[in-house]
Symmetry: C2
Subunit: 245 residues, 2 copies
DNA sequence: TCGTCAATATCGTTTGACGATTTGATCAGA
DNA sequence: TCTGATCAAATCGTCAAACGATATTGACGA
């Protein structure tokens, strides 16, 4: 049975299509950055599955780049925690067990709350308010659409808008380095619709508090959002997490 | 589609190993990792100065590695914010202006406070307590010695001990990705002795609260420490920061 | 059935090469 | 003299090929 599963993974690897050139990509991007972007996008869209083994020869063929550039990309992604490198064994898409997920939430929460507070403090102009509201509207639209990649993209866009509004560059640098995208991509595939809805509904109060310019309320809204996520986590069965052997 | 992805997760579970890196120091370091370590250490010792331009030919000669490996290292360091890469212009050791420094403190503070709380909660055994006390003793010794590299090293070791004790792996991953080392290395060269002493004295109460197993007090001690650092920052003249051209 | 050992696949690293871009100096003209 | 264009050198981004090192796999024999 192990063999069969392995074969299925192999099939998925070989039949996976290269992510077509992103229409929004700028020409200023280097090849290695484009590859990194392709992989992160592939995780969002489900082309790459958490835990999947990435083979250098395969990736170089599919992405049409040299091995050196690919390895630079993998180094970059490894530093961001998206892939893990095992010496002489290659790269794997990151995989979070239950403990790692809870620790991720503990780490991310204070950063997200800081981001919300800063955003609320700086949300004075109508332009800023509309940016948050637009991001929220897009997120709600994506939630209704049921398209997983679209939802994950909008969710990240909402965070980006919030962080950008706050104006703290270091925060903007660090938050994406937490493995939130990985966590979301992994959970998104296993949670129920009601859990998904619960999670998505948490962004409304956050946006409202930010637009109202109320840092304290924004902070609390984010805290509540994280508490809800922890609740969802506690409801998920053990078998969706990798087993440590 | 979501169903399919779920199935993929299940398959990945059975066929892929949990990417679990060995937390302790492993000697199976690759050359690129060693180079990255050499550069960060070089920053601590003052061999590399913030803002310095790193030339690939020079570094390959000096470090005795190939260009490919060096570039992988630089990619890793860039992801960690230690160096910044400019297309066709090369790599520069990161440089923080006053605003970036304050934003760095704002971002790092909640993480450090979380680390202190977790450490205090888990500091039940005598072994754990002695580890913190040893780290503090080494830090105080380094402070008295006046050796800058030694002090920066001990300071990081103290943080590492605290983070390790807390047991949150994600926090352990994210905190080094903030550019604290860069900030410290930059400030260390310009602050006065009284400022240096003030900063170093902040670690005593933190360690004491952790050893006492008092999360709340540890949290407050870290907050005070950061407030002191902000005060030091406000006392530093503008001319020590890079001028934005 | 289980352990041993060779074959294979993949990774880590080096070397060399080529075009693309920036940089700095040179030089002509106002 | 100053200004601007021109050109050569330096450096970077990328590719290709190769070699040893290591892990994985599968066959073989006890």
């Amino acid at each position: 049975m192990i063999k069969a599963a392995t074969k299925k993974i192999a099939e998925a690897e070989t039949t996976t299509q290269v992510a077509q050139e992103t229409p929004t990509s700028t020409d200023n991007e280097s090849a290695t950055d484009k590859v990194a972007e392709a992989i992160t996008q592939g995780i969002r869209t489900g082309i790459f599955v958490p835990g999947q083994h990435l083979l250098e020869p395969d990736l170089t063929r599919r992405l049409g780049i040299s091995r050196g550039s690919l390895r630079e990309s993998l180094k970059h992604l490894a530093a961001a925690g998206i892939v893990t490198l095992n010496r002489y064994r290659g790269a794997y898409i990151g995989l979070l067990d239950r403990t790692a997920t809870l620790q991720l939430l503990d780490t991310l929460e204070p950063l997200a709350r800081l981001a919300a507070r800063l955003a609320a403090e700086n949300c004075k102009t109508p332009a800023a308010q509309s940016k948050i509201e637009h991001a929220l509207a897009a997120l709600e639209r994506a939630t209704r659409s049921g398209n997983r990649a679209h939802y994950l993209e909008s969710r990240r866009a909402f965070y980006d808008a919030m962080i950008d509004l706050g104006g703290n560059r270091e925060l903007a640098r660090v938050i994406p380095l937490s493995r939130t995208d990985l966590f979301r991509a992994q959970i998104e595939t296993v949670q129920s619709d009601v859990q998904r809805k619960r999670h998505a509904s948490g962004y409304g109060p956050i946006a409202k508090a930010i637009v109202a310019g109320d840092p304290k309320k924004a902070d609390m809204a984010v805290k509540k959002h994280f508490d809800g996520t922890r609740k969802t986590m506690s409801e998920l069965p053990d078998n969706i997490f990798p087993t440590m052997t």
